[in-house]
Every structure is written in structure tokens, then in C-alpha cells.
Symmetry: C2
Subunit: 436 residues, 2 copies
């Protein structure tokens, strides 16, 4: 509730929170949606959400109704051309399915899959939506390996009955999920495309429509594999499809936040339907897709830093973890010098190696780790820890969990950890695969 | 030792490991330094380090000596023009002071500061080296806050007696050190430039010479502040000077690995002495520099991920930590949903907040965190945790340690954590400050 003066003015004009209104202030006119009163601040400051997406606070009672808040629109009935290739849409939540909640001013997940699709009518030029499934609705920061298991099983089933699958997903952990699906769908014969939005649908800078259009186009193209499709630039010109194990969210808010790491983008996709493949792809086939969802979540992650305490490793030993990824510095280093030998990372990693598989990645994000360039690295190699080539930390974590979910001998897990199973290791990083 | 056949052939030609030799194999001629036999592999495979820096293994006995291994060259005596501005060089170790050890094929720290400088004679056109100090010699992965204290004190002293200081440093943690010095030298009135090398001096792709030349040039320019100066591109054309709190090693091996994050480079520096400033800088002055080295290393770092166990926080509580940085996903999220409430990150962060200051950064690397866009974020804000604006995780970790080293009230620490003290918070990130 606003203060008494404002509430009176609103009432006299039949204005409610959520209505589109016009306010005059110091000779200027402002238009926007009336937001609820913020928790803090002047109770007579009227807050409008303007067309540019930003809120403005105005101390004025000169208010006029422009348009009443529309009742929730019925989703358009999605009719597609039956001659177009069929896809399955799997909705899991995230900003791509969110709307601003006018009660709190925050963003909430609200839209049904049908509603989301109705925001991007363009896709009906390229694909026929055969089915829409909604295995769970979750903010992506809350995704857990149990969701991955469910999602892999549903995706396998859906993709067997269509030309491809488009998965709507929150962006925070989308690259963890794309990595998990890459391993859990080992003989994938069709396109599986994860897509999200960095900005909610009600903002002028919304990105979901282009992303969804490009994802749909890519999901029926002639390739097989798990990709993330998101904005290629901060304009609305094209999207990139990036291999599911070589991708990372590299910006908190930009629309082109998802970038390929140590890899080329799989393809550039334009909203008119054009696809430019940028790397070799496996061609699609009709082979049946089966999910392999064995997964052991008892794999820890530690990022080392100067003065970091290696005893943290004891937490994972005592909790009976089966794997540990250490995000080292540079080529995959840990601190080696300590006043007392028993305090050293080297000694603690030796201890850990007796109980679990230890993988080393680099906090540089880009580039390859290397176990033997420097004498300190050879010290680390002798602990039994395994440098994970050019794998992303996030991918290494998921791959090790996947391998440890299986009935392999330890030697086999260690061997497979540095073998390329799902595009996660690139033997030849090229010069343009940095900050692309 | 190689196998008997190879050793016999080497002996007959008076060739030893480390000599520059010529080998014929299948009609081709290969030249390079004879390397020791690797630990594994064919004992009669002769290994040469070629001029391009790579090793080749050849199964041949057709070997000829080109040049005996030179005895360690005496460093050139460094004579500078007394009219040039004086700098102090502070050598701490790292690849910039390393040479390949022909005994092991690995890289060892060998060179004295004088030797290093003699590799870059160009610098004598721009500066006069007033003093060379060597407070410690350490691989940068082994740097600890105790070294930072020592280094800050020495740097303050040295810079008061010169126009600027150049610090030779290993690259792995150079950005942690530049951040530590940025806080520990709060009223810095002169340039302090950290410089390193990604490739050792004996490699054709060596980068130390250009880096050292540009660092020297920048260290006597009209500005004040801590910067890292390293290759701007993978060519030898220019270097970037990047603010000490807004820089990160973003590639394990590339020469242009150090990039500005959420900031502009401070300047572009050309080896002919030209400097193009790219952002506003504080001008130099003769104000005395004093180090403020109070520092509390009891600050932990946790990177969250799907299925991560929040009980790890108990490790830091039980060890009486005073601060914790949580590297969240996206805008600064942690998982909020768990089967049992007491297992949730939110509950554990609440517990931690009672004992210590908790800061939230983003594993996206680029962009700003935001405490209130989504309802889950507001949940996190209510725990008492503080979103650290656009600060790098590494910088936030060091800043919180620095603040907690001082006699501030907790409220004061929390307030200063999100105030810009040393360029670590950029209120206006521009569009070109991504993947630059």
C-alpha cells in the first residue's frame, strides 16, 4: 500500500497496481506500469515500470489511467503446419518462462509452455510442435542431479518420437545441465537444444524470442548432439549453438553470456532459418536414443587460492566422497609450500587419492592443464591426481560423477576421465577459441 | 641415459645432453637441443627440443654435433643513462626468471634479476635501474599472504626512492598479488607494475622481453596505481596495463592470458615507448607511500554447483573463520531447494552469517551480481550475505581479508566491502568490457 495521499488519488482514477498509467511530474510526462510500493522509502513516491524496463519513482499525485491491467491472456492455440518436422518441447523453468510479479516487483515463474511458445510465433514457420512436456518447474540454481536423471530419461523418450528436442531451462546452471545430458545421452542420434533467456519476457531487451526461434530451427537440422543455443552478440542478429560440454555462462546479465570455451561454436543460426555450421558435426540418424543415467553425486569441488587451507579435503574424505575436482591455478597448480609438511596441498591430495579419484582443472577457464611443465606440477602428478586436459571445471565435475556412477574399476574411471567421450576434450584448440 | 646404441653414437661424436645437434631421419634433417631421455618410452628414441619450442622424438643414430652447450653466460653489466627516470625492480620468481633445466626437461627458476634484465636490453632506453631487490624467490602458486605483506612493505620503500617499481612475478597468482597490493598500498602515488612471462625465456614464443620492456615504460609514466602489464594480443605488438583489482589470468598458456574484467585496460603500451591511456588515471605525485598490511587470512572460498553440499560451511565455522566468499551462479545465486530444510545453502549461510561476514560473487566471472532481481536472491539477501557488486571472486576474497585485518566494527566491514576502495567496483560497466 502506498501512503494515504497516493492511495486516494489512485482510487479517484480507478487505478490499481499493474495498470498502465500516465504521470505528470515537473512538466514532464512519464508512462509505465504502476508498481507496488517498495518495502523501503517514501510511501508517497509512485513507482512506474517504464517501457525501457527500468523503474522510476515520482513524487506526484497527477496520475491518469491509460489502460487497465489486462487479465491474464489466454495462450494462443498453437497450430503448426503438419508438413513441418516435429519437435518436442520440454519446459523446466527459468527466466524464459518468467513474468514480472507486479505484487513484489520481482520475477516469478508463471508461464505455461504454451504461453512461452505463443511469445515466439515465428517458430511455427520452421517446426511443428508435436508435444510439450513439463517434467518439473524449477529455477536453474536449484537444479540437482535428480532433475538431470529425470530430464535425460524424458529427453531420450521425446527425441525418439520427434526430429529433435528443445529444452527450456534457466540460465544459471544451463551449462551444467547441458554437460550432464551430453554424458547421459551417450549415443544421441538427434539434436537436443537447451535454450533460456537472460532477460524476462516483459523487458524491451528480452532475448527469449530470438533464442527460442533459433533453438527450434537448430533442433530439426541435420546433426546429432546436445547444444546450448543463445544470443551470439548483444544484438538480436543471430544465435550460437555451442557444444554442451564446451560452454559456460560467462556474464551475469548479458544476452550473449554463453560462450564456447576451448571449442568452436557448433553453428551460427539466423532467425530466417539459415544455419552456418562452424565445426564438424555428427549427422542425425534414426538410431534409438537411450539414457544412461547412472550418476554418483559424491564428487566435491575445491577452488584453491593463496593461503587456502588444504584440510578442506578432509571434509570430502570424512563424508565418503568418491571423487574430487580441484580447480587449480594456471596450468593446474596447487600451493606446494607450507611451513609444516602435513599442512600442504600435496600431502592432502595424496591422502584424498587413496580414497577417491582426484581431477585437476584450471581456474583460468580457458586453455589446457599440463601435468609436467614445471617441477611443482610433477610433484602434483605423483600424488595420483589427474590433470583433466582442457576440460571445464564444471564439465569435469559432472563427467567424474557420471563415470563414478558406473561399475568401472578405478583404473578405468581414471582412463576415461581424460578420454574424449562427449566432445569435452579438444586435442587441438585453435587460436580463435579464446574470448570468442 | 639413452639406450646403449644411442649412448655409443653420442659418445663417438662427443655429444652430451643440452648440446645443439643435427639429426638425419628418413632423408630429413632436424636440428635442436638434445634432451634427456624421457621417463617412459623407447630408450633409443632421441629427443630434440626444436627452435619452435616443441620436442620431437627420432629413432636414428645419424647424429652430428652443431654446437656444444654453452656454459652459463655471465649476465651483462647493466649500465643505464643516468638522465633517465629511476625505477626499482623487485624480483620474486616465476617463469620470467626461469630457464629450462636440461637435466629434467622441466622448467626451473634459475636467473638472477640481473640476468633477467640483460634479456631485455631495450629497457635501458627508457629507464635507469636504480635498485634490484629480491625479497623472496617463489613459484607464484606458492605465494601466501605473508609474501604479500613483505612485498607491500618493500614496494612502498622502493617506490618512495624511485619513479616507479616493476615487480617480476609468476603468472599463476599474479592477479591475486596485484589485488593484495592494490589494497595494501592505499595512497599509492606512483606506478607499481607487476609483470611476468607465460613462456620461458629459451622458447621462440618467449613473451618476457616485450612484457618487461612495456612494464618499464609504464612504470615511469604519469599515473599512480597498481597494474599488471602483459601481452595485449598473441603477437608481439603491444602490452596492456590492467588495473590490479580488475584483472584475471584467463588462459593457462596464451601470452595474452591476462584480461581486464568489468573494466577498461588502463593503457596500451608499445615497445617504442608510446603509451595510449584508455581510462582515467590518478596522476603521480611525490606523496610518501606507506603500506597498510593488516590482513586476516581466515577468509574461505566456496564455489557452489548443482548438488553441492552446503555443510562445507561448517568447516569454516569450526575453524573460526572470520569471512567467507561464496562464488554463486548467475547474478549470485545459491541452490535454495533441498529435501530437508536444514540441508539448504540458505540455512547454512544464515548460520555462517552469525559468525562471519559472507560475501557473494559470481562464477560467471564477468558482470555484476544483484541481490534482488529474483525471489530466490531476496531469500539469500535475508541471510545477511552481501552481494559483492561486480567484484571478481579473487578480489573480493582479498578485500575481505584486508578489511577483516583491521579494527573495524562488523557493520563497517560490510559497508566497505561494497564501497570502491581501489578500483575494484565499477559502477558503470560498458559494452566493450566483455571478453576484451
Amino acid at each position: 500500500m502506498y501512503g494515504r495521499e497516493v492511495e486516494t488519488a489512485l482510487k479517484s482514477k480507478n487505478i490499481s497496481v499493474g495498470d498502465f498509467i500516465r504521470a505528470k511530474w515537473r512538466g514532464s510526462i512519464f508512462e509505465g506500469l504502476l508498481m507496488p510500493r517498495p518495502d523501503v522509502g517514501d510511501e508517497n513516491m509512485v513507482v512506474l515500470k517504464m517501457k525501457n524496463g527500468y523503474n522510476i519513482g515520482l513524487k506526484t499525485l497527477d496520475l491518469d489511467l491509460v489502460e487497465k491491467q489486462k487479465t491474464t491472456e489466454k495462450p494462443l492455440k498453437i497450430e503448426s503446419n503438419p508438413a513441418l518436422p516435429p519437435i518436442s518441447v520440454i519446459a523446466t523453468g527459468g527466466t524464459i518462462s518468467s513474468k514480472v510479479d507486479y505484487k513484489t516487483g520481482g520475477v516469478h515463474m508463471l508461464m505455461s509452455a504454451e504461453e512461452i511458445l505463443s511469445t515466439a510465433p515465428e517458430i511455427r514457420k520452421f517446426v511443428k510442435i508435436k508435444s510439450i512436456v513439463n517434467p518439473f518447474t524449477i529455477a536453474s540454481e536449484d537444479i540437482n542431479y535428480r532433475e538431470w536423471v529425470k530430464l535425460a530419461e524424458i529427453t531420450a523418450k521425446q527425441v525418439n518420437e520427434a526430429e529433435g528436442a528443445v529444452i527450456l531451462h534457466g540460465t544459471d546452471t544451463m551449462h551444467y545441465t547441458s554437460s550432464a545430458l551430453s554424458f547421459m545421452l551417450p549415443h544421441l542420434s538427434k539434436p537436443v537444444v537447451l535454450v533460456g533467456a537472460q532477460r524476462s519476457q516483459d523487458r524491451p531487451s528480452r532475448d527469449g524470442v530470438l533464442n527460442l526461434t533459433c533453438a527450434s530451427i537448430f533442433s530439426v537440422s541435420n546433426h546429432a548432439g546436445v547444444s546450448i543455443v543463445m544470443h551470439g552478440t548483444s544484438n538480436d542478429d543471430y544465435c550460437l549453438a555451442i557444444p554442451g560440454t564446451k560452454v559456460r555462462k560467462m556474464h551475469t546479465s548479458r544476452r550473449d553470456a554463453f560462450r564456447p570455451i576451448n571449442a568452436k561454436p557448433r553453428a551460427v543460426i539466423f532467425p530466417d532459418g539459415k544455419i552456418e555450421f562452424k565445426d564438424e558435426v555428427k549427422k542425425r540418424s534414426e538410431d534409438e536414443v537411450k539414457a544412461d543415467t547412472s550418476f554418483n553425486p559424491k564428487v566435491g569441488l575445491v577452488k584453491v587460492h593463496p593461503s587456502s587451507d588444504p584440510e578442506i579435503i578432509d571434509f570430502f574424505i570424512s563424508k565418503n566422497y568418491k571423487g574430487l575436482i580441484i580447480e587449480g591455478t594456471g596450468l593446474g597448480h596447487v600451493p606446494t609450500q607450507t611451513i609444516r609438511k602435513e599442512d600442504s596441498w600435496i600431502e592432502w591430495i595424496k591422502k584424498a587419492s587413496k580414497e577417491m579419484v582426484v581431477g585437476i582443472t584450471s581456474q583460468c577457464v580457458y586453455g589446457r592443464t599440463h601435468p609436467s611443465v614445471y617441477s611443482n606440477l610433477r610433484l602434483l602428478r605423483k600424488t595420483g591426481a589427474i590433470h583433466c586436459e582442457d576440460m571445464l571445471t564444471e564439465t569435469a565435475l559432472i563427467k567424474l560423477s557420471f563415470l563414478l556412477g558406473h561399475d568401472y574399476e578405478r583404473k578405468e574411471v581414471e582412463k576415461k576421465l581424460v578420454e574424449n567421450l562427449a566432445g569435452e576434450i579438444n586435442k587441438r584448440i585453435t587460436i580463435d577459441e579464446f574470448l570468442n
